[in-house]
């Protein structure tokens, strides 16, 4: 049984993603998403009961990645400059703080 995506589900997803959809966007998305989900149906025919999920390729190309727990002074020096430039790109700041609108009204 194919999953049917209705307007209510779409509204909920858009809310989760913090996107406000215009009526024409909703209409097109409903159609597109349904076609895409129908296409996903073909995965159902595969028996994957005993298959371990592959979460990424990092587990193949290398094992865990560690670094020594010490300050890299050269890198730190560079990063201080970068942090300054990142602060400059923030739309609103107060001192070295990022300023946002209130969480609650």
């Amino acid at each position: 049984m194919a999953v049917v995506i209705n307007k209510k589900t779409l509204k909920h997803l858009a809310e989760l993603a913090r996107i406000d959809l215009k009526p024409y966007e909703e209409k097109k998305l409903l159609k597109d998403l349904q076609r895409i989900l129908d296409y996903f149906q073909e995965l159902k025919e595969l028996d994957t009961k005993d298959i371990e999920p592959l979460t990424g390729i990092g587990q193949i190309t290398q094992k865990n990645t560690f670094r020594d727990d010490k300050v890299d002074l050269e890198r730190r020096q560079k990063e201080i400059g970068e942090v300054g430039r990142i602060l400059e790109t923030f739309p609103e700041t107060e001192g070295r703080f990022l300023k946002t609108p209130p969480v609650f009204e």
Binding site: V3, I5, T9, L10, L13, A14, L16, A17, R18, I19, D20, L21, E25, K28, L29, D32, L33, R35, I36, Y39, F40, E42, L43, L46, T48, I51, E52, P53, L54, T55, G56, I57, G58, I60, T61, Q62, T65, R67, D72, R75, E82, R85, I86, E88, T89, F90, P91, L98, T100, P101, P102, V103, F104, E105
Partner: protein, 481 residues
């Protein structure tokens, strides 16, 4: 000296012979871009001042007796999802329209220290989501071989720039074919390295278990040069690995003994007859060079597209959560409507993201949501394991895999924009290599007449075995040189 003849290799020789200076060539490229790019639309931004300054530095060093590295002075184009410090970086999205990079991506840092020159930033599908560069919020990139057709995507600008002599080579990024597909459409070489071979620090993330940066060039040899310049472990990207060490542990192969596998699942009904004929001819070329060619099967190939379009949106929806109007520039002229943080998120994301980006964020949110996670996301990860196993199995019998890059040559502008699924299908042959993390290269088929649209063939190698596909690629090119 003709710009269109220049490869990285030839440029380097010319520089050593003092046939020209880096400054002269950079100036010539900048002049040519001014004329040519009105028609093509490869660049979102050209950086003449910094490029000429970099070129002058290279010339000064040569004059002082330094011997220049292979990429020194080479005018490059860079996909606009890779950060160059102090320059704007948009990912072709309105949401980053006014954003300035505050640091160099590791690939840029490496190339900069070798003296490479950055001519400008190239167009792409918004956040690298697309196969035609039609999803860019800013510009349309046309195929230099036929202006009515797309350049491919998402690295369409980077491929078109190289194909139209607006750069000697370029950098792109490949999540499901975004280097190889536009390279094939534009008749240039594109390499997607092994997952983790090249640092992605400073690449705007799309899907982190799939993304790789790689070169787009005129020849396989150039792809090798550029790859060697950018590869290697980077402490700032924990998925990157020590390439030399991995390669050494694999041991060296006698190139002439490499066995080539042809997977039957890639020669399906929907394959355009011209593409099929062209790839068949490539196989014959290798046969006549006495390579051992074997028919193989990768039985889960047909599931790769569905698997990819679950995993990619899932990862993308998480990666793109950061564009919230807080740490990046805000969409203009709406301050009065914003009362709280939630409004800010919604206004910026609703107006800042384009149609395809919204579609994938919503789809990703869906496949990760409670109740659907197991049926979609977990299922896709299991299918991904099966696809990878297919490759593991065949690599016991053969050393590399030869396939078409795309089911058709470049399609017309507007042909697939209405139907996302038909657009997604143009990546069916390139996606499996990303899912399995394997290196893959797209090489233009050389025997085609000049007035035909370019067609590419793809070679997929084992993990860390870029050397195999690059060497065989060079052998192929030598037949036609």
């Amino acid at each position: 000296m003709y710009l269109h003849d220049l490869t990285i290799k030839k440029f380097h020789q010319g520089l050593l012979n003092k046939d020209f200076s880096a400054f002269e060539i950079t100036e010539a490229f900048l002049k040519f871009i001014k004329e040519k790019d009105k028609k093509i639309g490869a660049y979102l931004k050209v950086m003449p001042e910094s490029a000429l300054r970099q070129a002058k530095d290279v010339d000064l060093k040569i004059a002082a007796g330094e011997s220049p590295p292979l990429v020194a002075g080479v005018p490059l184009a860079v996909k606009d999802n890779i950060l160059i410090s102090g320059e704007s970086v948009t990912a072709a999205s309105k949401i980053l329209e006014d954003y300035q990079a505050s640091y160099d991506a590791t690939v840029i840092e490496k190339l900069r220290s070798l003296g490479a020159i950055f001519l400008g930033k190239t167009n792409l599908d918004e956040f690298a989501m697309g196969s035609s560069t039609e999803n860019s919020a800013f510009d349309l990139t046309r195929n230099p071989h036929d202006l009515k057709r797309v350049a491919g995507g998402s690295s369409g600008g980077s491929a078109a720039a190289v194909a139209s002599t607006q750069a000697i080579a370029s950098l792109g990024s490949d999540t499901g074919g975004s280097i190889r597909q536009p390279a094939a459409f534009c008749g240039v070489v594109g390499l997607k390295p092994t997952y983790g071979a090249v640092s992605r620090y400073g690449l705007i993330a799309l899907a982190s278990s799939l993304d790789q940066i790689g070169p787009i060039t005129k020849t396989v040899e150039d792809a090798e040069i550029l790859f060697n310049a950018i590869k290697g472990k980077d402490p700032k990207d924990s998925t990157s690995f020590d390439y030399e060490k991995q390669q050494a542990s694999g041991g060296l192969q006698d190139i002439t003994k490499l066995r080539i596998g042809i997977p039957k699942e890639y020669f399906i009904e929907g394959l355009n007859p011209e593409v099929k004929a062209a790839v068949d001819r490539v196989i014959k070329d290798f046969e006549s060079l006495k390579f051992k060619i074997t028919s193989i099967s990768l039985p889960h190939t047909k599931y790769a597209l569905a698997c990819y379009y679950i995993i990619l949106p899932a990862e993308a929806s998480a990666n793109l959560a950061r564009y919230d109007g807080m740490r990046y520039p805000r969409i203009k002229n709406q301050e009065s409507r914003i009362k709280n943080l939630r409004d800010l998120y919604i206004k910026n994301r609703s107006e800042g993201f384009g149609e395809e980006v919204k579609r994938r964020i919503i789809l990703g949110t869906f496949v990760l949501s409670a109740g659907y996670y197991d049926a979609y996301y977990l299922k896709a990860q299991k299918v991904r394991a099966l696809i990878k196993e297919d490759f593991d199995k065949v690599f016991k019998e053969i050393d590399l895999i030869l396939t078409p890059v795309t089911p058709t040559p470049a399609f017309e502008i507007g042909e697939k924009t209405k139907d996302p699924l038909s657009m997604y299908l143009s990546d069916i042959f390139t996606i499996p290599a990303n899912l399995a993390g394997l290196p893959a290269i797209s090489i233009p088929i050389r025997h085609l007449p000049k007035d035909k649209l370019p067609i590419g063939f793809q070679m997929i190698g084992r993990h860390f075995k870029e050397a195999d596909i690059l060497e065989i690629g060079k052998i192929y090119e030598a037949i036609y040189s």
